[in-house]
């Protein structure tokens, strides 16, 4: 077991009312799983994905990661776990606009204060792996959507995380590019035994899951593995 949620609750206060974005969600993920999280829009998928490592603070419930409770630790601690063990991929790519491809990929290594020559070596390898060796010095706006998402993938794995959290990684891509990205994630999952948790509303993408969570209205209504 690498990641486990137990009775997770997240309430948003919104215009006087309360929204139960996550309503007693429990699940567990094994190391090497490719988890897909599906559900209608507004069902709480992003909230779940982002709250597990502290990007959103939970209202209640417990989260275990790698054998330790992480729902009640300090922000500094959670930040450290994200830095060392988690890679994020978002629908909007979330690249830093003024940095080149290779500079973007080196950011997680820079945050870990890895020496620059080592950073260059590892970023170059990873860019090779995602097929962007010839786009190292390009800025994000000089790349196509599919290429930008491959930069984001490279960035999410360059620091050898234990888990990748992907929020609709193919949401902005056409079907062919989506398949390419999904194949990539599958390859990463198999090659490196990196656990993947991927939110998607595409049934095709959901088929990649070795374990499937389906959310509705903040509750898990279906769990298959």
């Amino acid at each position: 077991m690498i990641l486990q949620g137990d009775k997770i609750v997240k309430q948003y206060n919104h215009k006087g009312g309360r929204i139960n974005a996550l309503d007693h969600v429990s699940f567990s993920v094994n190391k090497g799983d490719f988890v897909t999280v599906t559900g209608p829009s507004g069902s709480g998928k992003s909230t779940l994905l982002l709250s597990l490592f502290g990007l959103i603070r939970l209202s209640s419930g417990t989260v275990m990661f790698d054998g330790k409770r992480i729902d009640n630790i300090t922000d500094r601690h959670l930040t450290d776990i994200r830095k060392k063990s988690v890679g994020y991929i978002l629908q909007s790519f979330a690249l830093i606009p003024y940095l080149t491809t290779i500079q973007n990929v080196m950011i997680p290594l820079a945050l870990e204060k890895i020496p620059v020559n080592e950073q260059v070596k590892r970023a170059t390898e990873i860019l090779d792996y995602v097929g962007l060796s010839d786009r190292k010095e390009h800025l994000p706006r000089e790349l196509s959507a599919g290429q930008q998402q491959r930069v984001a993938i490279a960035r999410s794995i360059v620091h050898h995380p234990q888990i990748i959290m992907a929020d609709e990684p193919t949401g902005n891509l056409d079907p062919t590019l989506s398949l390419e990205i999904l194949e990539f994630l599958k390859k990463i999952n198999l090659d490196n035994k990196i656990t993947i948790m991927m939110v998607t509303h595409s049934p095709i993408a959901a088929e990649y899951g070795t374990m499937k969570l389906h959310l509705n209205d903040g509750k898990i209504v279906n769990q298959k593995s």
Partner: protein, 406 residues
């Protein structure tokens, strides 16, 4: 990749925005540096010039200021030469030495120099009237022994003595200050044409570090004729006996020279001190204003930058950048802005001082390099202080809200 490098790349990519961020602080520092460099130099200059004067009383035309005396503009007022005689024929005691001068800024070739007409000792001595009054006589000197010897111990350097006591200076001869000599490439025995009259350079005076270096000295009579100011002088420098001054020499001089300004060096110095104190107060007020205006302007710039980069901050926090990394990002940027503002402000202010100093204060301003250090320190302090709040808020941003897609 390092966070510092990221800061530099971002700064460079948005360099046009820098100008607005830096404007207030740069101008502020520039104004302070300009005021300071002018007033410091003017202070030094006045002190040095007074020290070099060798006189302790100045008789100036009514309405003339000490600045007129030094800048010698074309329209500076004059007083009649007869006043010298008036002093001599009076019964006033305690006038130890006296030197009437006529000073004007003139063009030699295309260079502007100050021409000063002086009466050499030999000429004063040749006037029977003056001689009889004992102006140069030993008896007066001894009468004032304490003050003269004190004065001499001050002005012992040859350069000063040589000018204070020019024994002979014949018509059509001139003495040239070292700066003028350099600018006009003059040496002893060369000829020089001043306002249409040929002069022979008898000597290049050695450098004194005062306005005298920028002057040409000629016989008073020649200068008066040349400038068509027959029998006029700009000032009469008087070496008064110290005791006599405290016993009312000034009042006596004012009585016989009612339409002049009789002033002591002490008064001039205290006026200058007052001016300097005023300048210091203005500088202090400027400092406070700049601290607030500069600080707020930099803070505002950083706050705009923080808002523009909310998403980027969210992305970095998502990837595991802690709050101190966010502090570092923005404070480092503020530090760089501060250094840049300090250097630019120093350069701008120094250039303004050097260019405007001669115009506004009639003095040659030299860069005060120590102020570079102070400018940078001040600017960095202002910049960091102004950036603290926006940086603190940036690090407190909820990473999630800033990740949301738009």
């Amino acid at each position: 990749m390092t966070i510092s490098k990221l800061v530099l790349i971002e700064l460079w990519k948005r360099k046009s925005q820098l100008i607005t961020g830096l404007l207030a602080i740069t101008l502020g520092i520039a104004v302070i540096v300009a005021i300071q460099s002018v007033s410091v130099v003017s202070e030094q200059n006045v002190a040095r010039n007074l020290d070099n004067l060798g006189a302790n009383i100045l008789v100036l035309p009514q309405g003339a200021s000490i600045d007129d005396y030094y800048t010698s503009d074309i329209d500076a007022p004059t007083l009649p030469m007869d006043y010298v005689e008036r002093i001599l024929t009076s019964t006033i005691a305690g006038v130890d030495n006296m030197s009437p001068k006529l000073t004007r800024r003139v063009k030699v070739g295309n260079q502007s120099v100050v021409l000063t007409g002086i009466l050499p000792k030999s000429e004063i001595a040749s006037k029977p009237l003056w001689q009889s009054s004992g102006l140069l006589g030993a008896q007066l000197k001894t009468a004032c022994a304490p003050s003269s010897s004190a004065n001499q111990s001050h002005g012992m350097e040859d350069t000063k003595l040589q000018r204070k006591a020019i024994d002979t200076l014949y018509s059509e001869d001139c003495l040239v200050g070292s700066q003028v000599a350099q600018r006009l490439k003059l040496s002893a025995n060369s000829k020089i044409n001043i306002v249409g009259k040929e002069f022979k350079v008898v000597k290049i005076l050695s450098e004194t570090g005062t306005v005298d270096d920028d002057r040409i000295f000629a016989n008073l009579k020649d200068v008066q004729t040349l400038l068509k100011l027959e029998n006029q002088v700009s000032a009469i420098e008087i070496m008064g006996c110290c005791n006599a001054i405290s016993e009312g020499l000034l009042g006596q001089l004012r009585n016989i020279l009612p339409d002049t300004r009789v002033t002591t060096i002490g008064q001039i110095v205290s006026t200058q001190i007052e001016t300097n104190q005023l300048m210091k107060k203005i500088t202090l007020v400027m400092l406070i204003i700049i601290f607030f205006v500069g600080g707020i302007s930099i803070g505002n710039y950083i706050w705009a930058n923080v808002n523009e980069r909310k998403r980027e901050i969210g992305i970095l926090r998502m990837m595991g950048a802690d709050r101190s990394t966010i502090y570092k990002m923005f404070l480092l940027k503020a530090l760089i802005l501060g250094i840049a503002g300090g250097i630019l402000g120093f350069l701008l202010g120094t250039i303004a001082g050097v260019v405007l100093g001669p115009y506004l204060a009639g003095i040659i301003v030299k860069p005060l390099y120590l102020y570079l250090l102070w400018s940078v320190l001040l600017s960095v302090a202002i910049s960091l202080a102004g950036s603290l709040i926006p940086t603190y808020l940036a690090a407190k941003f909820d990473p999630h809200n800033n990740l949301q897609e738009d």
